[in-house]
Symmetry: C2
Subunit: 307 residues, 2 copies
């Protein structure tokens, strides 16, 4: 399967799966859309966070108003949006959407130990940015804890120099990363209710969701997992690490729901490849080793996951 | 004097005044950059708020980061900016910059009564937006109370649909409207200190001010004021109201500081003319009556302000 809509939640692929469930019957799905744990540290990803993306739009006056004439006497959509966003986290960086953590399971002691033993080292530039929910390590914050982030914001005058207006409109794109048992639809409803409850009089609020997908955790002890370990060891010259991933691949959840199919996440890139950013790359070395591992995987599966 | 830089604080006109103080010696300055109080309600404006405009820029990572990979573990400049902006007001809509109100004089009882007697009626559309500092009327909020508003904000992805990034940068244009005795430079320093104090670790903050001007209140009982009343009555067919204005005209303060010159603010437009917004207008009727009043003013002055 080759599709180009993963970044917009693969809705058309889902429709295709519904209509072609019989033709799509398989033993296992394999997706190469995850990363190695680090340079020359190949990995099998057994968990993904889910995601919920939405946009909130606040409207005040019909048009921008002169801030001298009206300033202080009308609600300002940018200030209102800032207050709404600020109230999404407490000082411990926990998310303040009511009910947000209700279905989040406490961290498994054994898994927590395993995560802490991974050879993890923030790069210098990112260590300076380190931040997050109090009581959790960086990997826990990225992989097993849910988040709420603003991905973009715009409102009022954004050109060069000042322009003294009360903006008519402000909007923000907000996304939540979700962990197992959190229901994206429930979280979307809770988020919308929470935004509306905090919207001041004089401001109209519009809320639109786009992507919604659940988190996934896979069994790490199956014949396919064992076959993948063998293939990666042969192609990369070392055993893969078992890791989770903070990102989301909505079609993994759709494969399970619509086809009853498990997915193996065998990815070959690096987190330092500038994902979703200018100058994104894929190292040729990883490209070639990934091709080799993918081919060897078929051999290993045909041997039942025994080397 | 005709100049085109009023909206960017008239800095070149100020330089001109410094170099040509002798040639600019005058009895009075007259500026037509204010409004009538309403349709067919001509007015003389005896007070202006001052203004401080600035921009605050927050920077996190070198570039946008994938919110799946990094979300929850790095500081987000948009979220940080929202928290900083939200903390600029309390729930009573008072400005929370430390020291902001220190030099603000309590409202004069006599003036408060006079303002309450003005024939003021919010239009339907603006009544729905009514908002502001608790304990003050709409006109007081607009004319005699200081404010702090965001005029524009931008950060991260602002195109169509979702993009799950942690933005590298976010910025906001912030302006304060100031009242007599507030020093724009002190307020700018207090605002910068307050923004920096609330900026979280992992985020770099840059602060740039642009316009700065003090509020002005003029004596309403001078021969020039009396002459203006006569001229307006003759041109508009009714006595002008005495009003203040929430906007700022920086050169008024410069005329006083550099030339020792008082200014009469005789303006002919309407607040509903879409000032600083698309489709700004100036009614021909007001244009013609304003020309007539301006001409009659010279007669009235030559008579010493007696009809």
């Amino acid at each position: 399967v080759i599709e180009g809509e993963e970044e917009v939640a693969s809705e058309n692929l889902e429709r295709f799966l519904v209509r072609n469930a019989e033709r799509c019957r398989s033993d296992i799905a394999v997706i190469s859309d995850t990363s190695q744990f680090g340079p020359d540290l190949p990995a099998i990803t057994y968990g993904l966070r889910g995601v919920l993306t939405c946009e909130v739009i606040l409207r005040g006056a019909q048009q921008d108003l002169h801030s001298g004439v009206y300033g202080g006497s009308v609600a300002n959509p940018v200030n209102a949006l800032a207050r709404i966003i600020a109230a999404l986290h407490d000082d411990q960086r926990r998310v303040l959407i009511p009910g947000f953590y209700d279905d989040v399971r406490p961290l498994d002691v054994e898994e927590r130990r395993r995560l802490s033993e991974l050879p993890f080292d923030d790069s210098e530039s990112l260590r300076a940015l380190a931040w997050g929910e109090v009581g959790f390590t960086t990997l826990e914050r990225r992989w097993v804890r849910p988040t709420c982030d603003v991905n973009g914001i715009i409102g009022g005058y954004t050109g060069v120099g000042p322009k003294t207006i009360i903006p008519a409109r402000a909007s923000a794109k907000i996304s939540c990363r979700l962990v197992p048992e959190q229901n994206p639809i429930s979280v979307a409803q809770a988020l919308e209710a929470c935004l509306r409850a905090r919207c001041p009089a004089g401001i109209q609020l519009e809320f639109v969701t786009s992507s919604r997908s659940s988190a996934i955790v896979c069994d790490t002890n199956t014949p396919f997992m064992r076959a993948a370990r063998i293939a990666i060891r042969d192609a990369f010259g070392r055993d893969p690490l078992l890791i989770r991933e903070g990102g989301s691949i909505p079609v993994v959840e759709a494969f399970r729901r619509l086809l009853g199919l498990d997915t193996l996440l065998l990815g070959w890139g690096q987190n330092t490849d500038n994902l979703h950013a200018p100058n994104e790359r894929f190292l040729l070395k990883d490209f070639h080793r990934g091709i080799r591992a993918s081919a060897l995987f078929f051999d290993a599966v045909s041997n039942g996951g025994t080397s």
